[in-house]
């Protein structure tokens, strides 16, 4: 099966190369197409909707011109299924002649599109998926979201600093969850802490009760949680049922659990929960205040979350790269232009690591608090310019 697919891709790539060389293409089309593949329906639809709204907002604010060309965004729905992502990526590259593909709501979806990016030499901007290894899957992948190790390490360090010795971890059993678990466990152990148990719940699990009960019975100092965007509310409801505070167990996690989009519906049970993450809608900066106001005005009832900001910054990166190449859409040149790019995003200062093509950003420690009757993740500590620890450790070994 592999051989067949590879041949088809080679053909696709050849066809592309042929059009690029043919005299007709020399007309230098004035339109640059950006193919965005997102889960707009299905279980991860909230990710798709947040990112699509952010992309729309970006184009409304900054216009549709970059590098002297008109940027046309085509959004396709992969429903969160990797096979469809791959097919759509191929269609976008071959039929629509997209110069850049982007989006990718979940890790398996990003990995499915990676070979297409490599063979067609088209940059793939990952706006959502968070497993560390994604950028290694293709030299054409650039990431504007975050990595799980990047977001997890700070809360682990915070836990160590705050006298937490014994921990239990509970994560969703798939790429990012395992990334989060490994990072958290490693940091705790390095600092002399003790990991009593590492629990993994199936990704599609309607019942967290047994895992939470197990965690409670082990009586750790803290319980670390990770679930993907969209599942936080269900998890936190069951957490509040167990009354961890009474046993003196702190509940901490990555910001995925207290996702801005759902936070307000979680109720007072999450008040005081400490998490670490790259973005909070409450982030105190003029850029973010403007962003949140514009986003909420364009999308009544929807609060921008970390997914949205990944999409917004992804567009910013594509625009800046096009400006830098003066409208040249050659994939290799675009990726080169993206490397090392730095700017101020609503989430704070960010840049693209020239070595790994992954994002370098601040990670904030936050506490859930009530502000004007609404729940927010209020940042109280900043860990500046965090590189993905997973790849940093790898580089250090070399």
């Amino acid at each position: 099966m592999n051989a067949k697919i590879t041949r088809r891709h080679t053909l696709a790539a050849l066809a592309l190369a042929a059009t690029a060389l043919s005299p007709f293409a020399a007309h230098a089309e004035d339109v640059v197409k950006v193919g965005v593949i997102l889960p707009m329906t299905g279980p991860s639809a909230s990710t798709g909707r947040e990112i699509a709204a952010a992309i729309k907002l970006f184009q409304e604010q900054k216009g549709d011109k970059a590098g002297g060309k008109k940027v046309e965004v085509i959004i396709k729905d992969d429903t969160g299924v990797a096979d469809i992502t791959k097919r759509l990526a191929q269609e976008l590259v071959v039929n629509d002649k997209a110069a850049v593909i982007a989006g990718f709501g979940l890790t398996p979806l990003a990995l499915a599109a990676a070979p297409i990016a490599t063979q067609a030499k088209v940059p793939a901007v990952v706006m959502a998926a968070g497993t560390a290894i994604i950028t290694e899957a293709s030299p054409y992948i650039v990431r504007t979201s975050f990595t799980l190790p990047q977001n997890t390490m700070p809360i682990a360090q915070w836990a160590v600093k705050n006298g937490i010795k014994k921990v239990v971890t509970l994560v969703s059993d798939y790429g990012p969850g395992i990334d989060a678990e490994k990072t958290f466990v490693a940091t705790i152990k390095e600092n002399g802490g003790q990991v009593l148990e590492s629990l993994r719940s199936p990704l599609k699990n309607p019942e967290f009760a047994p895992f939470l009960q197990k965690a409670k019975d082990l009586k750790p100092d803290a319980l670390f949680l990770f679930v993907p965007s969209g599942q936080g509310a269900a998890l936190m409801k069951q957490v509040s049922e167990r009354d961890f505070a009474k046993e003196g167990i702190k509940v901490i996690g990555t910001g995925d659990v207290t996702d801005d989009e759902q936070l307000n519906n979680m109720g007072d049970a999450v008040l005081g929960m400490i998490t670490s993450h790259n973005y909070s809608a409450d982030h105190d900066s003029p850029e973010n205040k403007a962003y949140v106001a514009a986003f909420e005005k364009a999308n009544p009832g929807l609060r921008p979350n970390f997914m949205s900001v990944g999409g917004y910054d992804g567009m910013a990166l594509i625009y800046a790269a096009l400006d830098k190449t003066k409208g040249d859409t050659d994939g290799t040149k675009l990726v080169e232009a993206m490397k090392g790019m730095s700017w101020t995003s609503p989430r704070g200062p960010i840049s693209i690591d020239p070595e790994t093509r992954d994002i370098i950003q601040n990670v904030y420690i936050r506490k859930v608090e009530k502000k004007n009757g609404q729940l927010y993740n209020v940042e109280f500590e900043t860990m500046a310019n965090i590189k993905d620890p997973f790849k940093a450790a790898k580089a250090a070994k070399k």
């Binding site: 329906t41 639809a45 009760a209 047994p210």
Partner: protein, 293 residues
Amino acid sequence: MLTVLFDGLAYGMLLFVLAVGLSVTLGLMNFINLAHGAFAMAGGYIAVVMMQRFGLSLFWGLPVAFLVTAAAGAFLERTLYVRLYDKPHLEQVMFTIGLVFMSVAGVDYFMGASPQIVNVPDALDGNIDIGDVSLNKYRLFVIAFCAILTIALQLGLSKTRFGSRLRAAVDDARVARGLGINVTTIFALTFAFGSGLAGLGGALGSAIFSLDPQFPLKFMIYFLVVIAVGGTTTITGPFFASILLGVADVAGKYYTPNIGGHKIQIGGFVIYTIMVLVLIFRPQGLFGRAQGK
């Protein structure tokens, strides 16, 4: 340990209320209704809308969820299902799975894809401590509610006139008709009642597990396992099967054995193992009678 049993019991009871309607339509009316989960989802969303839009408590949500889904069940039975009673099972499966996909897409469109949050009424919020065991009030309520419901169902089927008419209609519809029993009405009422129970289960369960448009697909497997293990000819069969599965599922997830340094997550497949074993040794289900006809 006791808490695990308690959580498993609550989970099993919920499964029972959700699945019993399916057991009735499948076992008594010989109709495969895979869209059963869609009625459960409808009940859950009705409760959500009642609480979020109209600010009513879950106590009101439960009866309304029951009545509205029962009415919807009756309507669909009269307009759509009735045409498929004498069709082969494959056609029934195709038809009802189509309904499931329509319900998933419809709810996604109108209510959004993100999971809905149902807040438990204040009276049922929190835990009761009995010795070392801390029991969640809402789960306690679910257990008590479902236990009463089960007894009522069992009595209703075995002791009332409607129950005996239904059993007669199922055993031999032609003879029952000849005796002046209105079989069509009885089937419609039974179907509506089963749908209503699913809706009630969905509303009850919405406060425990997350309710999203994928609900009918996620739970279809569980329903079918309950029916396969419990058999379809009695009420008690699916009841004990649900309890068994609920406890086994929760306990399987709680106790993760450590084999050779690797954590083996048995939780996910305990219930399937039980199902396979039951199907091998008692294909009619643990509590089912051997097929009569």
